[in-house]
Amino acid sequence: MLQVTDLHVTVEDKEILKGLTLTINAGEVHAIMGPNGAGKSTLSAVIAGKDGYEVTQGSITFEGQDVLEMEIEERAQAGLLLGFQYPVEIPGVKNIYLLKSALNAQRKAQGLDDIPAPDFMKLVKEKLGFMKMDASFLQRAVNEGFSGGEKKRNEILQMLVLQPKLAMLDEIDSGLDIDAMKVVADGVNSLRAEERAILLVTHYQRLLDYIVPDKVHVLVDGRIVKTGDAELAKQLEANGYEGIEESAA
């Protein structure tokens, strides 16, 4: 589904990713772990299309399409969705506007008509219920005045409504207390499906107790230095990244 090959990315003339290769197939849940500054967030930002990241070498393809040639919105419409570590507050834009615009944009890209209003309301209310969010939330501005936990729930709610093919979640566990973590993890787990893949970017192993990955990659200094299963995350928790860095060096 997603193929990242020998990716080199510089930010303000500094090389952050130095030849990263990653393959994600449908039905898989991958976790990328690594110390601060290793390039974890850079990878998801480049895939989503954020400005200021220059790809100097390598390629990213999604279902055979060249992602780097696609506009930001085209990537999302194709099913590549990024959940932010720090969701942006958008004063005045109601959540319902965002959800409906986004869903209809995706449908339009698929050649479908706008979703009928009653179907939309039914869908949104069901997902809200799942995320233990109140309906009044739809009339609130996107993330404005939300607590850290609410912002993360909101990211997952968007995923549940938009049903991406590849959900990338950047540090989705940061700033969550244990109850919010469970709700968020339940939301992510509900996305697990044969036709869908999930990429978790995380600093801590804690999240992976709730969302058990099929594959764990260790990202150090712009490269994936080790790949394993969920056990690898536990080793990292016990021994830290230092051992890995040494063995990679």
Binding site: E73, A76, Q77, I90, I96
Partner: protein
Amino acid sequence: MSDTQTFLDTLKTRSQQRETEPSWIAARRQAGAARFEALGFPTRRDEEWKYTDVRSIAQGNFALTDNADFSPAQAAALTLPLDAYRLTFVDGVYAPALSDLDALPDTVHVLPLSKALSENHEAVGGPLGRLTGVDFSPFAALNTAFMEEGAVVRIAPGAVIEKPILLQFLSRANATAVMSHPRILVEAGGRSEATLIEHYCGDLEAANFTNVVGEFMLDRGAILNHYKLQEAPLNDMHVASMHVEQGRDTRYTSYNLNLGGALVRNDLISDLNGQGAETNFFGLFFGQGRQHVDNHTKVNHNAPLTFSNENYKGILDDRAHGVFNGKVYVKRDSQKIEGFQSNQNLLLSDRAQIDAKPELEIYADDVKCSHGTTTGQLDEEAIYALRTRGIDEATARGLLTLAFAGEVLEKVTLDAVAERVELAVAGKLPERFNLAGLVETAVALND
């Protein structure tokens, strides 16, 4: 021939045609004409008109009209969908057929100025011109010279008027451009409560000149919500001089919503003369093409313990030019007052322009005042965040522009007005797309 002379000649012809009128009106008219003649039209050398060039009015040749013919179907399409007492004017001429004052309670008088003058002119003569005299501006003087029609609203003490009072001013696409000089006089009795809406709209191709003067007197404890919604025609010229006088414990709220007009100038002044008086100015202006929209506001804290709160937002596209000049004045020893003012502007194009000038003038030492103005573009990070959800850039920009306007619209308590403006803003966005469906979804959710 000077610009002024064209108008004076029109006035002279009008006076010759007019039937005799009470001498006090004739005297005021003469005073207005004399003042206008002496002042002439303002130029950009006048501090108050520094950013607004009125030559398109001064050099215009505007006729006066006497008929109020307007297609009822067209009027129905333009009118605000709300249950209201309605007075309609077509190019300044009272249109009884398009008005509806049925079931008006006897605690409120709403009548066209012409009728008020003929029936009880002494009662009108006293307050008329007391707040906005001929010295206020050349336009106020001109209005006084030409005044014939408008609306008189008198609310009895203690009366709570549930339905809004709607004054509609329709502008027609005439073969010859016309002018009108409406007067609005509102006397709100002690502890009364009412909502007044001025709604300016009309044929899309109309290009007329409206020069309105409004005087609003709030007696002790009165509450008045005052909407001024100005929509298309985009070629109309519109000058409004609004003056509010507030007694003790009164609350006045202005919603000044400007969407249309080639040249628009609003002067809004509140005199807070009694302790506990509160005034709120909420404004939104949206300019496109070569529209010029100038909002001058002034709050006079003439008494201690008075409060003012002002929030004006401007959105300018294409080569539109906006002006915001807001002044908060605190009279000597008016202690313990609070005055807040904010003006934010959004420029959607490189060639759009805003002149923003907040002013504070304080002659007391125990006051809490703040003011600020910002002008900027849309938040690029927010645009990115929306695009990562699949929303295209034009729609993202539209949503954010709508959101910017939303901060003022959320203060609007009449849904029919808020929805009208929100839909108008959505439809006026540079890249047209259907936000109307979204707005409707949100409205449906409320029901």
